[in-house]
Amino acid sequence: MDTLKTSSMRYSDEVPEGVAPEIVSALAGFAVQWSGGAGAPHPHQDRYPGVLVKREDWLPAISALRDGAGLIWLVDHTAVDYPARRPARFTVVCILMNMATQARLIVKSRVAEGESIASLTGLWHAANWAERETFDMFGIAFEGHPDLTRIFMPEDYDGFPMRRDFPLQGHLRFQD
């Protein structure tokens, strides 16, 4: 659990209220930390429950949620950069939804610079372009992605613009 420990009060071992029991049981085999939820005490916390999984649990945990807890829709898949956080500065985020109950769950995992994380393209084809976007903007590699190339920026673009240390303005310099 060491890698999941955090100094903020956002995460805890307690399951937030309102999380469906099938979600909890689907994640029974994984080391997770919870946040948010209906009764979230922290003003910045989300109304939707969130769960932080280990990087190596990313694919199995989400696979279990999809098949065991009915979270069949990949609503969104992106990343967030916390440049000061070490060792893992990136949080990879995906939002899952149960179409029958309208329950949503935000699944997160932390990735350090240069590390990779499993691709979800085997579970949802919709993850393909989302992961390419995350790769394009943050430089996070997804293992097992069929075509991990830039999707928005030109192929010869240098840098990952959504990283917080990317310059806000200025002139692009192509390296030839």
Partner: protein, 222 residues
């Protein structure tokens, strides 16, 4: 109106069976300026304003420019109307390279001229980083009147073109420097245009822009 066109239109003899005395240059300029076929590269909102300019209320056809050509090989004027991204810049340069000489370029609107309000990572800060520009139209978007004014100015510029005169008159004499080298012509006809410079070269090596956008070098940026 002491232009070459006026010279050219000076008819000799009676109106019956009359003929015109002119120079090849004046004739070419006259026909070129009255049939400037634009290749509208409508990239965003300015493209809509260009459409308004072309439509009947403002009626670009009055100036012989109604034939918008969507093939670069049939166009004389590359009218870049909108926000150019770096990904699209390669396309624009290719279009420009495919246009036959003589050709002109207009940067329409704040975005095409300078990046406009989008001073951020994907947007080219002015199309002149990639192609030589004849006219910049200010505005966001420019009013159709501004576009028309620019097109009229372009006609004046075409009318002043002297490339024929220079290329026919400046015969090279052994041991004598011609007045104007063919390659220095101010107008058109100077051979294949090359994309001007990379943005980095354009903005110097020591300016504050230098390290911007060069890539991920966090230790350098911080």
């Amino acid at each position: 109106m002491a232009t070459q066109t006026a010279d050219m239109l000076e008819a000799t003899g009676s109106s019956e069976g009359s003929f015109l005395l002119s120079s090849v240059q004046a004739m070419a300029n006259w026909s070129r300026k009255n049939s400037v076929w634009p290749l509208p590269l409508g990239l965003s909102c300015c493209g809509i304003e260009f459409m308004a300019t072309a439509m009947s209320r403002y009626d670009m056809a009055r100036f012989g420019m109604e034939v918008a050509r969507f093939s670069p090989r049939q166009a004389d004027l590359l009218l870049v109307a909108g926000t150019l991204t770096y990904k699209m810049a390669h396309v624009m340069t290719r279009l420009y390279d495919q246009m036959a000489e003589p050709k002109w370029v207009i940067a329409m609107g704040a975005c095409a001229s300078s990046g406009g309000m989008f001073r951020s990572y994907p947007v080219v800060q002015g199309i002149d980083e990639f192609v030589p520009v004849d006219f910049y139209i200010p505005g966001c978007p420019p009013r159709p009147d501004a576009v028309l004014t620019c097109l009229i100015e372009l006609q004046k510029k075409i009318d002043k073109d002297r490339s024929y005169r220079l290329s026919f008159s400046a015969e090279k004499v052994e041991g004598q420097t011609p007045l104007v080298e063919q390659t220095q012509l101010p107008g058109r006809g100077e051979g294949p245009a090359v994309a001007m410079a990379t943005a980095g070269e354009h903005f110097g090596e020591d300016g504050p822009q230098k390290r911007a956008f060069r890539g991920i070098k966090p230790e350098e940026v911080r």
